[in-house]
Symmetry: D3
Subunit: 280 residues, 6 copies
């Protein structure tokens, strides 16, 4: 197994054909993040992105209590943007913070940039960074006991690793977005489903992981060329006018429609067989 998958605070397993499972593994701290962890996350997803034996990914937290409680505040107070060794000059401190925030953002965005779809299984405590990370994933499912919070205002900051940039594009209730982001109040899965933050809620973590693997396997059974394009084009179009999306799509597909996967998939459809696709 790739060295990039051997990390102290992550388990990477392969529960089904072409499916990887990334598990945040610091359950004794409710999977709270310190700096090394987001750097590891970055390495793991960059490697998964081009690993030809992986076609879809699920992400969850180890242990029964939390997906993640967010930033490890104790650790953050000694390193990272909140603890940037303050220089006497606010401008120089500012630049150190900027470098740090951009680096942290890039680590989280590696999930969005990953060529393979990522399904986030949100369970138990899901605060702060939990939102930032899950919003960089493609599909979000949760459990009946999930406790969500856009927690950042409670530590005096405007969330800067992705939640405030991605949330307005992810759900269909702008009033609710402001409500939870400004108040940091805790909300549950029923509310998350109603406003569109998650697309399914399951009884508990066990069921959610099982269903996550099932969905990941279904996606992994499709043409990898079609799946890659679908993720890329949906991400591209989310951020741009329809006209721009159409133009980019036409250019993307001028190579991709030449794939052998089209006749294979069509042939299997007609013959009611299961198509086999080459590695990507």
């Amino acid at each position: 197994m790739a060295e990039a998958y051997q990390k102290e605070f992550f388990n990477v397993t392969f529960p089904a054909e072409y499916v990887a499972h990334v598990e945040i593994n610091r359950p004794e701290k409710m999977n709270a993040f310190k700096e090394v962890m987001w750097q590891n996350l970055n390495q793991i997803f960059n490697t998964l992105s081009t690993d030809p034996s992986v076609r879809s990914i699920i992400l969850s937290g180890a242990g029964p209590r939390a997906f993640t409680a967010g930033l490890d505040v104790n650790a953050a107070s000694t390193s990272g943007p909140l603890a940037s060794s303050k220089t006497p000059d606010p401008a120089r401190t500012a630049n150190a913070i900027r470098r740090h925030v951009l680096d942290f953002q890039a680590c989280i965005s590696s999930i969005e940039k990953c060529e393979k779809p990522v399904i986030c299984i949100i369970h138990g405590i899901a605060y702060g960074l939990a939102l930032d990370m899950s919003l960089a994933c493609d599909i979000r499912i949760s459990t009946q006991d999930t406790k969500f919070s856009v927690k950042e205002v409670d530590i005096g900051i405007a969330a800067d690793i992705g939640t405030l940039s991605r949330l307005p594009h992810a759900v269909g209730n702008a009033s609710w977005v402001k409500d939870v982001a400004l108040s940091a109040r805790i909300f549950g899965s029923e509310e998350a489903l109603r406003v569109g933050l998650v697309s399914n809620v399951y009884k508990d973590k066990t069921e959610a992981v099982a269903e996550g693997i099932k969905l990941a396997s279904l996606i992994a059974s499709k043409s990898p060329v079609a799946v890659l394009g679908t993720k890329e084009l949906l991400n591209y179009s989310r951020d741009r006018p329809v006209e721009e999306g159409l133009r980019y799509t036409a250019v993307w597909n001028m190579a991709m429609l030449q794939t052998e996967d089209v006749p294979r998939a069509m042939g299997s459809g007609i013959k009611k067989t299961v198509p086999k696709f080459s590695k990507l």
Copy 2:
């Protein structure tokens, strides 16, 4: 009746004053599309766009079984982007595909560009191209038996005629968008209503068509100047920042607020009469 409305695979009728009904008419093939059909669609909607006796439009499929089953795969395998006579050079093939996709996109976008509002009545089977087309319409209503599927990954392609560009801007659950687009799973009207893909669900096709005509008639009774502007400004603003929308609106209305429809509509409102508006 305009020649553009006389097409082998479409019925165009006028069920109420100022209301046109476009019906996809190939029921024996579940209204599956071959190339001539989307070119006809284009001609029909371009003509409706400037037909002064039409103020709103409904679109449905003939027969009880399907709105449309999507692309006619047999036909597509002999013409169109999936069958572009492959040249020996991938780049030359690519350019032929690009031309074809851009042309196909333009045909579907003629619905969005049409100056009059289009209400899509989605019933029975609604796969692949059904989504592309209905997302180019202004209003989507469906029936209890509708079976939706973003079907394209099942034939090895990333949908390229509009679904991936318009869906993220049409519904309020980004996780659900990825779920259905990556898995091609079939979903029903209840789910479509919950995530915001349709705005109403009716018992069956008969009721949906009747309600569609009723809504189309209501819209057709309003000032055509106001209706034209409302469609244009909502489409414009969907794709742009609020500031841009406001500026364009001010410029649009510097001509449109001079219309005689304003005093007519206001006068009728005060006198509780039904206003009459000149043709546009």
Copy 3:
């Protein structure tokens, strides 16, 4: 109290610490707007924006019957864009209209530009301008008896003070947006909640105002630096690609993460005390 708060048609009160309540006060006309009122609104929100003793705001209408019935049509027929003294030249009239619309838009946008979060309590009649105004607010809550209507097409115009620019970005059902904007039909709170126009519905105005103050107080108890940033970054990101949002966020926070509020908030979190923050 600031002179800007003493207006004939508005009450400005301070029902809780750091919370302002702006009330439209023309109940005998169902709080319908004439030109002086939107200019006053502008002055009030510009002043609140930098008033250090205000950290959050609620907006409602006086009296039991209406949030606002919208534009005072009688007044509008004698002044404003609909009554611009028509010059004999359509181009010169057009420019007069443009100036007027841009000015009117700027008044309504002062709510969005206000540095403090604004919670809109929508109750009773809420027509036309009611939507324009509430969509410029951050959070929208309503009551069981609210009657909403995007009323403008009924007077022959495409809404130009913000509804058509902001509504597509505020709710997650594009089909519904077109439905209500093109038909001007009246809809209620249940529907508003389902499509995401409001984030909560309360029994009646009394309860809604009480809950609004409660939420405003909760927000006012947070770090003003974090709250300011959260509003700014969410508004910025609504209108732009995720990449742009992330970059702007990093630059915003290079100053804001240096705030003393972070250690204060963290310290209070650990000590389970209520943090006190300096005025902004």
Copy 4:
């Protein structure tokens, strides 16, 4: 020869291998345009765009006196946007104008959309529409006697067929752009070269046409795949941030770098032979 090339007011000839020459042919009226002419222009360039025996194009005016004197004002006063049969309602007239302007713009933009590079040879009188048209071309060269004018303000209008949209992106002196567009003053080739409106000035029309054909032939000798991509990517990037240009380029080239033209061109480079490329 394609029927699209047989037009009353245009000559289409093929002066060199793979090179087409489009000549505006109404010299007795200084090549002034009436409506049928821009519609013909549209048809000609749409046909050239996909004509496999054409790889580059030059555009000039017939006769010694003018490239074109612009709109035929007499004709324009009886048809077209300036003569839209005025309806009694300014809003309905406005919509008729909008349809007309959009159609006219599309005709001129067919030059920019043409897949093959277009070299514009500007000579003699070049007023109004001359600028609109030449700015839609890829390369502009002129003669020592060229008299340019952004003439539109002199007939009471802001140029609406392209000059005001393309000029700010074509030259490197924003002050000069405003100067000539606001004053309608006549300027010559020396000034045009200095500010970057043209890239070369020749002695007279004969020399300019000869040099135009020479440059067109040079371009036509290159890989058609590389030339198509270079035009497309430069046009795309002119209008967008560098980051967007880079991303689109990578997607464009994922098909185009697979072309057989690369080894052919490289091989010819090494062997110092002239490469032959298949038709596109």
Copy 5:
């Protein structure tokens, strides 16, 4: 004369029909700016924008020595963003600075927003703010003795009132832009003309003012509707893709082409008379 034109540090005169001359009037300090001056500038240009007896404007500095030496550094050290009474909290100081900078920017941008064209006559010393201001003007002309400098890095700041945002869109040499902005070196009119910062250089201030008035008079003799549109559409298009410019232009002109100025201008053109246009 409007009260807005009576300011201590500005002279507003009317040297020709429909032409206003705004003169910065603090020659004993080389026209250096203190805060009250940019607020006055704002009021003057907002008033000129809608003054029907003004159709074009020139801007220059009083006295022989300087257009303006830029910010009055002594004054700036006691008020303004550089002297924001520093609070103990960097975040609160930051917000005070942001408010101040946005306000200052808005004052300078009032020149760009002014409906009438503004010709900037740059002479003598032209440092820092001189660039910010002149870049917000439409046309820039200078004199042989002008000494330009993007001076801000020399006082430790990145220019924030407009130069860094407008300069890359105003001239055609990106390398030169970085050169002068990073080095703060002084350059003259010959260089400014070569890179496209100015469109004409005159012998001295007297000649430049005379030529400025001549050009302003020429512009003032054109249709005010056409001039207004030309400024608006060029500013709009500078900042947007060509497609966006074309669309906005079509909408702008649907009102503006209805003007009586078109037949008046055309008629005068045919009859070789001087057209008279109504006030705007």
Copy 6:
């Protein structure tokens, strides 16, 4: 010295205080690039970006003959996007190409992303990649003997590492951009200066390097906070509307105007001393 600076094909030296000199060092091959070289370039500029003892950078080629002859075509035919081991499936080959091109682009863009200004000294042969690289630099100067060529069409490709995305934003003659990019013709420094590709031309490489170091030293003597901001804000504004540039600038400077460099620079200005600035 940092390990990142020890590369086989690059020399990194420090010819003046705070100034780094990066030299492409493969003179026997006219500094042609193979893959390892652009990866090294990336590492060098990423390291320089945050090296506190570097404040400005010059980039040149070793030896008298060439800045760089571009891609090493022999090497490119065995690795890289042009030699991607072709899979039997055009779509899978396409994705391999895309990954490669994005990676290559990122290496070149590291120059633009570098926090410190980079001055490119272009001399002798400067083909293909020479343009891509120099356009990612901030300032371009050249020598009388420089031979430039946008060479890519000559090997059958549309340039994909940056030239086509950056050139339209770098120079002020769109016609010339198309001319040289479509024809691949060689041009010299006089022409480059006239169209705005370079900002200065020097006699020979020796003089150009000396002048480059002089300019780099001048920039290095300024406040590093001001220089960082000036580069960042100019790059940001190049790609965006003026309004966006102004807003970003205000947010950037809310931290940066708090720097101690402002009083230091102002104080030195008054006292005519040379200011000293802390490391960034």
